[in-house]
């Protein structure tokens, strides 16, 4: 089985989709020189017209993508770090999310927003923050996040082919993870969760780097507590069916998410489960999230973000 790193898998999705469709192109800052390896060598292969570097100006950069999408092109716009989307936020959130719907569903807006996110490099709040909850909050935008090289390629390809704006942040902590990635072209439909490990005592919903942590804890608890681990992969649309089906078996839920607790993805899932599957629950749903503080860049990063110890403690608490 061929293995690629996570970031190589994203790169392969770019190459695949750019070859399949002339209208696909990448735009960002310093992507020709490849700040991160997913754009390595692409300008040599596809030329400066399709690998577009812009001035240091996020509104102009995003405007290039947004306007090009209205003109029928299919841009992937790379913000480098997720927090930088906030520099042009009225555009990336409201103007983007409302374009199709508010204007009478006349025209699609096929574009992909991508960026690195996540703790682990001690870069502090503005470089380390998550952005998926923020984008989920704003209607009209799909939001997905891969946790394996296989999913990275498949979700990125699906995002590029989707006729809607899709935000796909990727976690720096996964960049160099290796895994099986088929050479042939495939997609993972947006909105499909995956059971990454089967279990019977409790369900843990965890994404991105936290999926890794959750799987590690599940393996550790084997024999003691049987943990089913689900990766949502897509936050919006969210695959509620897969989660509810799992809860029918386990009746217990822990949600792990690196985004902040307040108005975050984990809270939304918890509230939806309570609304739609209250009778399935034998115990409170516990969330393991980043507490509501600006993410510190110092050594405290290790224990402020969710980690295996906190996940294990939550599982034990729910199963007690």
């Amino acid at each position: 089985m061929r293995e690629l790193t996570f970031i190589e898998a994203i790169r392969e999705a770019y190459i695949q989709e750019m070859k399949l469709d002339e209208s696909v192109f990448l735009v960002g800052q310093d992507i020709r020189g490849s700040i991160f390896p997913h754009t390595e060598g692409l300008v040599q292969q596809f030329g400066e017209d399709r690998i577009v570097d812009t001035p240091l100006a996020e509104s102009g950069m995003y405007g290039l993508a947004f306007g090009a999408a209205q003109e029928g092109l299919r841009p992937v716009v790379d913000f480098m770090f997720g927090g930088f989307t906030y520099v042009t936020f009225s555009e990336v959130s409201i103007t983007t999310g409302q374009y199709h719907f508010l204007h009478g569903s006349q025209q699609a807006l096929p574009l992909v927003i991508t960026a690195a996110v996540g703790t682990g490099m001690r870069l502090a709040n503005d470089h380390a923050m998550s952005v998926h909850s923020t984008f989920c909050h704003h209607p009209g935008i799909k939001v997905v996040m891969p946790s394996t090289p296989y999913d990275a390629k498949g979700l990125m390809a699906a995002a590029i082919r989707d006729n809607n704006p899709v935000v796909i942040p990727w976690h720096l902590g996964l960049m160099m993870e290796r895994g099986h990635v088929p050479e042939e072209d495939y997609i993972i439909p947006l909105g499909t969760a995956e059971v990454k490990r089967e279990g019977t005592d409790i369900t843990v919903l965890a994404n991105s780097v936290q999926l890794k942590n959750a799987l590690e804890v599940a393996a550790k608890l084997e024999g003691e507590i049987s943990v089913e681990v689900i990766d949502p992969r897509s936050f919006e649309p969210f695959d509620m069916d897969t989660l509810l089906k799992s809860l029918e078996k386990t009746n217990r839920l822990v949600i792990v998410d690196e985004d902040w607790e307040n108005c975050g993805f984990a809270g939304t899932v918890s509230a939806r489960v309570v609304e739609q599957g209250f009778d399935l629950l034998d115990a409170p749903i516990i969330r393991v999230t980043t507490p509501n503080m600006p993410i510190p860049g110092g050594y405290m990063e290790n224990y402020v973000a969710p980690n295996p110890e906190r996940i294990e403690a939550a599982i034990r608490e729910v199963c007690a």
């Binding site: 001035p55 509104s59 102009g60 405007g63 841009p75």
Partner: protein, 329 residues
């Protein structure tokens, strides 16, 4: 670029039409027969007509929000009855009655408006990029007010346009005001177009009350853009006769605008000036002018009839939810 007789008639006709539509909207708003906002256009409709009357269907247009871009849109060949229907919440509206006062005519490359002043500056970069990439000589007419150039988005847009040599016209309809703020208090130079100097972008200042003068400049800037010579900044010095939007007081700073200020403005009303000119130059006779007015009135009446006879849009929440995302084939 001297205008042909035909071009002058087109401009005059569009100007009269824009004026009648603006007056109809104003009157309907007073009668409670429009939803959302209305930002009256009186005094300021000439630049929009000039900017849009000679664009091709496949040129991009971002209309200025004043008079809700009606001068621009009708000049681009858009039938405004669908906009009135939208503005009255009807199913036949251009946005299916969902948007109140927004619009979208993608078949004419008028994609949207948004409530954020300065929103236009970002997407025009993408339209210009796409036009350049296609190489079919389309241009992007980017219209907005003096106030909008306060936004940093304007800077980024001009930076991209000049650096990438994009075919974008920065068409500034400078009425000297942004809500209550007067430009003397809010901008450090006499002319907004001084901003173009920062990017070494050519700039032209024109009398925004004179639709023909504006059109000559528009044609020049459009030609430059089509010829691959990049962006141009055009500053149309125009006027605002009425309050910023209906319901807001008509102040300058925090004092009521005075008759001494407003009265002389009215002598520079664009339809008045254009009428004098076409008569003087023998382009149109008074009879022809009257016919143009009558036809505009008919068009306006037909739009009102269409909107009034359309059903109010009341889709279910489920139907609306199903319309949030574009389908995938």
């Amino acid at each position: 670029m001297a205008l042909s007789k035909k071009q002058m008639i087109t401009l005059f006709t569009n100007l009269v039409r824009a004026d009648r539509f603006d007056k109809m909207f104003y009157a309907r708003m007073l009668q409670g027969k429009l939803i959302g906002f209305y930002h009256p256009g009186e005094g300021a409709i000439a630049p929009g007509v000039a900017a849009a009357s000679f664009l091709n269907d496949d040129d991009n247009l971002s209309p200025h929000h004043r008079a809700h871009g009606m001068a621009h849109n009708l000049s681009k060949g858009i039938d405004l009855k669908y906009y009135l229907a939208e503005h009255t919440g009807k199913e036949t509206g251009c946005c299916k009655g969902r948007s109140a006062f927004h619009f979208s005519f993608p078949e004419k490359k008028v994609y949207m408006m948004s409530g954020f002043i300065g929103y236009n500056f970002a997407p025009v970069v993408g339209w210009g990029f796409a036009a350049k990439r296609r190489g079919q000589k389309q241009v992007v007419m980017n219209c907005s007010g003096d106030g909008s150039y306060g936004q940093g988005r304007a800077h980024e847009s001009m930076l991209f346009a000049k650096t990438m040599n994009l075919p974008i016209i920065y068409w500034c309809e400078n009425n000297g005001m942004a809500i209550h703020s007067s430009i003397e208090d809010m901008h450090p130079t006499k002319d907004i177009s001084s901003l173009a100097k920062g990017f070494d972008m050519p700039a032209i200042i024109v009398d925004g009350q004179d639709v023909f003068a504006c059109a000559e400049v528009a044609l020049k800037a459009i030609k430059r853009a089509r010829d691959g010579k990049g962006p141009t900044f055009v500053e149309c010095k125009t006027l605002r006769f009425k309050e910023h939007d209906m319901g807001t007081k008509d102040l300058k700073g925090y004092r009521a605008r005075k008759a001494e200020e407003l009265d002389p403005m009215r002598e520079r009303e664009p339809v008045l000036l254009a009428t004098k000119r076409v008569l003087k130059d023998g382009i149109l006779t008074q009879t022809q002018i009257d016919a143009i007015g009558a036809k505009a009135d008919e068009e306006v009446a037909a739009a009102e009839k269409f909107a009034d006879e359309s059903e109010i849009a009341t889709p279910t929440v489920e139907e609306l939810m199903a319309a949030v995302y574009a389908p995938n084939a």
